[in-house]
Symmetry: C2
Subunit: 425 residues, 2 copies
């Protein structure tokens, strides 16, 4: 990794503590990723990005700030990046995927909070995440109890704008979300000093749709019998999508897809024939949370689709690009985002329909419903998801996990048994 | 207890299992309540109500149904009873305060769900709560992740109407709540076949305000140095308020207050001089959850105020009675309910202001912040509450508990130590 110490010091980071993270990540990445055989060449780009995850992109964001630009840190797929980019600002994900940050979060949050929230708050308070240090404003939302209340703690030293996501999906809720987006536009305009015009918004809608189309193209390739890429690698790409420059990400992902197209033509597969095809559904897998993919793909399975925020929920459905005035564009944005099927909504039966649809489209052998501990919405919905899958005759395994390694062996045992069961069907 | 077996059988209850609950309740009530000395005579009414809690009121509700009336089961202080009563229907609380029901809830809900939700769902699914059996419709709300998703499970066999409570308190959120109440009015009208006229609504506003005024009067009496009533007894009254006929409840509570007025004049106290005055804040204490009050009041403390849903949040602020047209009345109802300071809102700083205000008004020696396990909103907010109290120089003890007795000894130790610390100040 290049030397970013000076930059991190200037950001006010706790560099010594952060060094401990920098020491373990390459080893973990090597074990999980570089050990794979026959990886597409196009993965080199993502390998590079992850190897410098706290360096190269943060440096770009700081460059942007030096030119007077603003950076918005976001936590959730419901925050419309289109508005941010239309104001010549940058939206970036924030840290939250490692056990490294959890103890810091537990200093202020109850231990029975989901690891994603504890890690995010810990990364912020312990000053071990450059993205948290760089962001000029955090944008929160009311998608779950834990996050909703965590903003109040994070708001102590950085401006936080919270978007109130409706909890239902009636027509008036879509209208209410439209109003929230208009309020957000005003906040972004005031904060950046840049007007969000319909021309700028049309551009940013295309920009973010481009990213969605590239991810969709990548996922489509996984519908092939011969899998040209591992689930692990796709997960990494999905995770990087939250941080990378959108135009470059789209370009690199399309380039990778060109390579994968050839692989499909040539019948190349990165898995042995008969490897069981698994669809994952559940809570997001923030970088560097690769645990479940790694266990599945070293236990005789291949992850072929993720019905997750780091997965289909991130890229499914495009914003209508044909609208030309601001009101209609914002309406189109609201409608696209309200189409995301998060368990924070009641009811959320559309998600079950999606899972069953994907299970068929991706020709899966079984579904693993994997949820982070203490995520109530997904945990309760899991009961309904698993019931519906059983009724549809699709084998399903429910798993609850956190960021520690303490349950890895138990998970491996259960997942191996599940895959064996699929092999015997 | 009178013999209600036939009625319970007709309700389709699991009478044998329910018998087990009927066997233990009188003992628990005797130990906690009847052992108190010098109780006000007016408590006889509430003793009677609780001794027949699954009998006398359910029988009244069934009578009401026989005359063509409807019963709405509710879970939360945000559901406006005014609308229900204006349609000649009855709103009633539902079971959820005992460990007895928890295992039934755990059959379908994750074990790391709050005991109140698990108990409610268990009481419903195991058919051991007459109120759940009687209610023609359940009215849910989006106040927390656990409840929000639990409706989806409960909705499987009884109609559930969910009200989408905004998660913030901006002007537009109050308007959105007004719209929710209008929708609810429509649902209630359609379901009962009775129109909610402005005259009927004016009556029901007065009816429910009457209950609030009686409870407020009761609480005011606890501001006296000589406490004319125990905290335990007030808790019981607050709990019964959710089930009882509102007019009768108001009458009986005012009658009790007349007696307490005399006690105050005569300087009667149910506690020894020097007993430490405790304000409780946190999650609701549903009947028969008397654990914390019992421990405090047998450890040298007296509970003088509950900043809880079973407490001030239930009766604080009246609905404006001067409005005469439906729109203005509903606006007044919306504004009153949006004034409740539940941790489900972000931010919810008004609650902290209230706690500090009450601590002064009730002349408390210390605050105990008691939250049900796995209630994220109150748990996270607890960090801010306790921080603010410390800054204000008010001693505070944070406790997390559930419905089991397994932590009773540990709680007693901690609470005794807290009260001793207050005595040494």
């Amino acid at each position: 990794m290049a030397d970013y110490r000076k930059m991190w010091e200037d950001l006010g980071m706790d560099v010594d503590t952060h060094d401990q993270l920098c020491e373990v990540l390459p080893q973990a990445f090597g074990d999980v990723y570089l050990s794979q055989e026959n990886r597409p060449e196009g993965m080199d780009y993502y390998n590079f990005v992850v190897s410098e995850i706290h360096g190269v992109r943060p440096a770009e964001l700081i460059e942007h700030q030096k030119k007077g630009g603003k950076v918005f840190g976001t936590f959730c797929v419901y925050v419309p990046d289109e508005i941010v980019f239309a104001a010549d600002a940058i939206a970036t994900g924030l840290c939250g995927g490692s056990q490294f940050w959890v103890p810091g979060g537990e200093k202020v949050l109850p231990s029975d909070t989901c690891p994603l929230i504890k890690a995010s708050v810990g990364a912020r308070l312990d000053r071990t995440c450059p993205f948290f240090r760089i962001a000029d404003m955090y944008v929160g939302e009311t998608t779950c109890d834990g996050k909703k209340k965590a903003w109040e703690i994070l708001a102590e030293d950085v401006p936080v704008h919270v978007m109130d996501l409706p909890q239902m999906k009636r027509e008036k809720d879509v209208r209410a979300w439209e109003e929230e987006i208009k309020d957000f536009k005003k906040v972004v305009e005031d904060f950046t000093g840049n007007e969000v015009t319909s021309e700028k918004l049309a551009e940013s809608i295309k920009l973010i749709n481009g990213k969605r189309k590239a991810l969709k193209r990548l996922y489509e390739l996984r519908k092939n019998e011969n899998l040209p890429i591992s689930g692990k690698d796709v997960l990494l790409i999905s995770q990087i999508a939250f941080y990378d420059d959108p135009a470059r990400f789209t370009e690199m992902t399309n380039k990778l897809c060109d390579e994968l197209d050839k692989r499909v033509e040539e019948g190349v597969s990165v898995f042995e024939k008969g490897t069981k095809r698994i669809l994952l559904t559940g809570t997001p897998l923030a970088i560097p949370n690769w645990k479940i993919h790694n266990i599945i793909e070293t236990s005789g399975g291949a992850v072929v689709c993720e019905e997750m925020c780091t997965g289909t929920r991130y890229f499914e459905n495009l914003v209508d690009e044909t609208q030309t005035d601001l009101d209609s564009q914002i309406k189109a944005i609201a409608e696209r985002y309200m189409g995301i099927k998060c368990a924070c909504f009641t009811p959320n039966t559309g998600r079950i329909d999606d899972i069953i649809k994907y299970a068929k489209e991706y020709n899966v052998d079984g579904v693993i419903d994997v949820n982070l501990k203490f995520c109530s919405t997904y945990a309760v919905e899991g009961y309904l998801v698993e019931k519906a899958l059983k009724e549809a005759g699709i084998p399903v395994l429910g798993i609850e996990t956190d960021y520690t390694d303490s349950d890895a062996q138990q998970m491996r045992t259960r997942i191996s048994a599940f895959i064996e069961m699929l092999e015997e069907r």
